[in-house]
């Protein structure tokens, strides 16, 4: 038993080495300021770089629009599937698997082959939003569906309506507060997706945040490393928040179960 413990400890340390040494060297390089000087100058320099703000603004705009559009079309569908049309669940699950597996490079190749106009769409950030939404739908649908399934929406809706709640009240006071965790999780996932997506933006020649990061890497490797690390920490924080939300939701669900 002790030998087993030792072996598993050794194996875990090897995994840790593989995962943390590259991050460590990324961090060390982002601090390098020539010669033997190590400081945070690369971080402050890259913020002043021309194009950085534009890239961040573009990515922010695309992320916000993708979040709104994705939620607007996925939320009603997930709600309805959980409330009334359970028979549609296999269809939607299958579609979201397809959307999940379709490579971004194929997606962008298809979209650019099919949509060549109108002008307010092609060549504007909306074009990116259209593609990102397809990428975001599987994550969003999964998150919302899981969140709603644990709720027993049918009972909730019936209970609310039997005491006279209208559709609006039902949505505002019963449904939304209960699926807030799932919605927030979906928003975080879409945000990380838009922050990190490179393929589509690069092929369509948009100067989004990841594309910008790649572009400055050739001239300013330390600055790019600084950006990469900041983005990584941001995503990590978001992911941690997400896990906490999920376990919070699970705790709440357990409590409701016990209360029953």
């Amino acid at each position: 038993m002790r030998a087993g413990k030792f072996l598993s400890g050794a194996a875990l340390s090897l995994f840790a080495l593989y995962f943390f040494v590259p991050l460590g060297s990324l961090f060390a390089n982002s601090l390098w300021a020539g010669g033997d000087v190590y400081n945070f100058s690369a971080y402050s320099e890259v913020l002043r770089e021309r194009g950085f703000t534009d890239a961040l603004m573009l990515t922010g705009q695309v992320a916000a629009e993708t979040i709104i559009l994705t939620l607007a079309i996925t939320f009603p569908a997930a709600y309805w599937v959980n409330l009334r049309s359970a028979h549609l669940r296999p269809l939607l699950s299958a579609l979201s698997v397809v959307a999940f597996i379709i490579p971004p490079i194929v997606l962008v190749s298809g979209i650019s082959a099919f949509y060549t106009g109108p002008e307010w769409f092609v060549g504007t950030p909306h074009y990116l939003v259209a593609a990102y939404t397809v990428l975001a739908i599987p994550y969003t649908y999964r998150a919302l569906d899981n969140g709603m399934r644990s709720l027993n929406l049918q009972t909730l809706s019936e209970a609310a309506q039997s005491v006279g709640a209208s559709w609006g009240t039902l949505l505002r006071r019963i449904i939304l507060p209960n699926v807030r965790g799932a919605v927030l999780g979906a928003v975080l996932l879409i945000l990380t997706l838009s922050l990190g997506e490179f393929t589509i933006a690069n092929v369509l020649l948009y100067q989004s945040f990841p594309v910008y990061m790649t572009y400055i890497a050739s001239s300013k490797a330390t600055g790019s490393a600084a950006l990469a690390l900041s983005a990584l920490l941001l995503t990590w924080g978001a992911m941690y928040l997400l896990l906490n939300l999920e376990s919070g939701a699970a705790r709440r669900a357990r409590r409701t179960q016990e209360a029953k």
């Binding site: 593989y18 359970a86 939404t133 990061m213």
Partner: protein, 356 residues
Amino acid sequence: MTDTEPLTRDLQPEGISSSLIRTSDESKTNPSGARRSNDRMAAMEEHPALLPDVLVSELFGQTPPRTVRRNRLARWRSDPLTWLFVGPLLAYLIAFMALPSIAVLISAFRDDAGHFTTQYVQALTQTQYLLGLKNTLTLSFFSALIGAVLGALLAWLALGPGSPGWLRRPLLAFSGVASNFAGIPLALAFLMTLGSTGVVTRLLAGAGFDLSRTGFSLFNVWGLVVVYLYFQIPLMVILIAPALEGLRAEWAEAAENLGASRTVYWRRIGLPIIAPALLACATMLFGNAFATYATPYALTSGTVALLPLQIAAVMTGNVLSEPQMGRAIALLIIVIMLITVALYTYFDRLSSRWRP
């Protein structure tokens, strides 16, 4: 019908009991119910609370009986609200996923004048594209295989029985991030570690070990496998975690009580149960690697021939080629992805037998 006819419900207690009562009374109290739910199976399906999911699938199997399917169609047609709620999502996926995919299919078979041609698909047998296919397949296969084995091992060590409990959440959070770690950040991290002036390379050189003499390079398929593992292993951890948690402790205890050793338990019980899930996740990893573009682009800037890079090169005009050529490659990737999804579905179905 639960929302359009609230009248019948007002008199009844809420919750499961209400749906119980309603099901039995439905054909009497509800005029449209007579048409829809005289079929008992359909009624059960509308009220899943009556029947546990497991039982539903036990009774109906994978494909529901014909009568139920016809009923579904009728319900779909007769309920305009369904269109309102689910329609936008379906329409969006048709407009931005299905139609563009069909456009890829059609345009791969049409020349500039719009006539049918197979020249582009035939051109896929040119040396460069065959090499691209071979490289992409090799890279995806080995990064999926090694990633699946190591990922399952890591998940087992960190999440399985006897593992330190505090590791769970940090590992899952890290896996969520690392499985999305791609492109220039990942490329830079590895360049600065194992590149010619990387930290580890210099450390090894200081110890008298020349990494480049071993033939290792980040800029070929095997170097890419090492880099891909950085997101493949975490993805495997995320995907396999539920299946590992589904391995019930009772099974191990029962085996132990009957005198089985750990080895026998794993060989005859643990692995056979978890094998389909492992294969399903490995298939997912394969598809994931096959679609990866940002990382090899950032790391090798096209010196390793890979199909996703070749499509992009055609699309951005970096190589002299017609756009149809890019679509022909896209078509090839779609075909391989379809095979991957089919395999995944098959393995996933096998493994779902053991889900609670």
